[in-house]
Amino acid sequence: MSQGYDRGAVESFGRWREFSAGMWAWILHKFTGWILVGYLFTHIAVLSTATGGETMYTTTLQGLEELLIVRFLEIGLLAVAVFHILNGIRLLFVDLGLGLTAQDRSFYASLVLTAAITVASIPTFLGGAL
Amino acid sequence: MYEHDVIVVGAGGAGLRAAIAAHEHGADVALVTKLHPVRSHTGAAEGGINAALHPEDSWELHAYDTMKGSDYLGDAPAVDTFAKEAPNEVIQLEHWGMPFSREEDGKVSQRPFGGLSHPRTTYAGAETGHHLLHTMYEQVVKRGIEVYEEWFVTRVAVTDHDDPEGRECHGVVGYEIKTGEIDGFYARNGVILATGGLGQAFDHTTNAIANTGDGQAMAYRAGAPMEDMEFVQFHPTTLPSTGVLISEGVRGEGGILYNEAEERFMFEYGYANNEGELASRDVVSRAELTQVNEGRGIEDEYVHLDMRHLGEERILDRLENILHLAEDFEGVDGLEEPMPVKPGQHYQMGGIEVNEHGESCIDGLYAAGECACVSLHGANRLGGNALPELLVFGARAGRHAAGADMDDPLIPTGPDAESEPGDVELPVEPGIVADASDPVAADGGAVATPEAVLEDAIETERERVETLLERDGINHADVRAKVQETMTENVNVFRQEGNLKQALRDIRESRELYQDVAVSDPSRTYNTDLIHTIETRNVIDCAEAIALGALAREEFRGAHWRQQYQERRDDEWLKHTLLAWEDGTPRLYYKPVVLEGHEQTYEPKERSY
């Protein structure tokens, strides 16, 4: 590690433009993974309203669903989950030593598929709110 | 000051082998090297390692081939020892894990190579040297041998006895490149120089930029004579812009050489009617240069080596690495177009005069590998014989320096071996420039006691470095370029009296220019300017020795071709050329070739293939 002095741009993440496919895949996988854990915790928190009684649960959830922003967040969540799944499958293949030479292409494929699935799901998600 | 039993300078194949041998013999040994060991140029060797392993093959045959290849300028005790010990060394390497190419039954593969009567070249893909180097470095790591890496050795410390044979070597002075510190390495038993080749004396070479002949020049100035320096091997197929080697394999598989008019000149001009492109290295190199000199070269510089007719499949199967080399270093696609090639300096047969134990005439100073001259290769080295030489003579030097009991050597060294004084007319004075008070070029004063020798040498070097750093002057790169250009122009495969004299004049001028060099980088940290400047001095000394030897030897033998003397003249020239550095003035003399070994005696025969 370069502790001697600050090499500025050389060491910093300002270099992201120079990242390769595998690095982006890693970053996105991390990012989506963290969002998913975050969601898991929130999700359980929200569902916990069930312990406060039936109506509380229903109103909370319905109240949330009525908010447009929540709908959008759900789309985001879907995108995040889909990417994490697809890239996760890609990583599982890499772990098995399969298709290593196509690792960059499989990453791009995950991205494209994620986008396609997300777009396709928009009508379903936004259906009731608009 | 650092202290060890044995100090090995250089960590290429020869140095590593020597260190391991000394260590196995119980010595406390250290490697001092200007490059990290795995950066040594041994790693560049592609072809292979010769050793008579097959039951039908024998060491006598290998010795015979080597002697014939040397054009009878090899010394029999060296040749015999070499051929006999090479198989053990190769198997030893295998036991150390070297990834040799293998036969179906799991045995080490052997293939045919130029000048060999049997397929006895073991190899590891097209990267034999790389594997040899790394395998041995790994063994050094395993044994915990101390390595001082990026320490540049500038001087061997010897006592100041008048007669070189009375001198003793007590260590070396090193400059730590990273810190700029100058310190001594005291050797209780001996110093082994294994600093490799001197390709940088030429401007077109297959050698690394670090191959500046440091060991040869340091030993020379300390009093050990240089032997047979005029014998320089040129490789006929190197890429013009970098000197990267295109191996014999291409021609072996059927690659063809063409001139600008697309004539297959090896046949059309009758250079080698039987062997064509497969004739020996010197023949092909001369043919190429003749074509270029007579105006049939491409861009007046090179010829074409074409392998397209071999077909993509065969090329990919056998010569894939060549495709990468041409692409990466010349920007040429060998499948689509012919590859440009020209001759380049490749190997230095001559070097520090030593006997079969690697001892020079100075007590405690050894040399092994390309910087030494045992003499094994005589006037011409066979492909695949250098790597086993590193192993056999590296190991012997290591053992001897560590105090092993060995037979009395049969090869004599030092001025005592002189059979006749040399006689050559020079256009200019060789050796140091009169104004020797200049610390940059000076060689130090008289020292009486062995103890003070190293201290004194350290002081001299400190002063030299100080001066180079502090004063103002010209850049060494100009001087080096001048030497390299004249060597390539005048002391290449064609040697004519006038040109050789011109080279000596240019070298003289370079020496004078060198009086004025200075290092403009004032830094103490990783000052490569300083290192290169000091190396340039070594380049000059080596270049001068080559040109001088070439002018003196009036015959055509092995790699040494003289326009005026078109044949081998055994009655007069069956002898080694030696140059002794006498207070800065080279003195030329000769010693006889030893054709009688422990077991075999050799008769010079005509060398035809």
Binding site: I44, L47, A50, T58, E74, I85, I89, T124, G127 | -
Partner: protein, 131 residues
């Protein structure tokens, strides 16, 4: 030299578990998403024409009373927690967490996941009407 591999902790076990849980999660997460966000979600609006009851406790309860579904969801909770929290832990370790810091993070994460699983289980039991 040797100090690089003095550690006795072998990462292999957690690494393998991360992969195994991932394989399991592929299926369950997809199922979960499709079931709750597409089948029983906004889509209902159009098909049922019932504006008042998109998501209802009743629906949830009905599903959760099925033992198979309940245990699937509970395993989902546990694996996802392990997978997610272990992932986060790995990420932090890879950034060079050492010594005490590492121990603290491990402890915090373990407690958090235990709490999450506990709370999740409680909610699930409420939903299924056991509590």
């Amino acid at each position: 030299m040797a100090d690089h591999y003095s550690s006795f902790e072998r990462g292999g076990r957690r690494w393998l578990l991360q992969r195994i849980t991932a394989v399991f999660l592929i299926g369950v997460l997809a199922f979960h998403f499709v079931l709750l966000h597409f089948v029983n979600h906004a889509a209902e609006i159009e098909f049922a024409g019932n504006h008042a009851a998109e998501i209802e406790f009743a629906g949830t309860q009905a599903r959760m009373q099925n033992v198979g579904y309940f245990s699937l969801m509970w395993t989902f909770l546990v694996t996802a927690t392990f997978h997610g929290v272990n992932g986060v832990y790995n990420a932090l370790i890879n950034q060079g967490l050492e010594g005490t810091q590492k121990k603290v993070v491990a402890a915090v994460l373990t407690i958090a996941s235990l709490l999450l699983i506990l709370q999740g289980t409680r909610v699930a039991l409420v939903m299924s009407g056991v509590l």
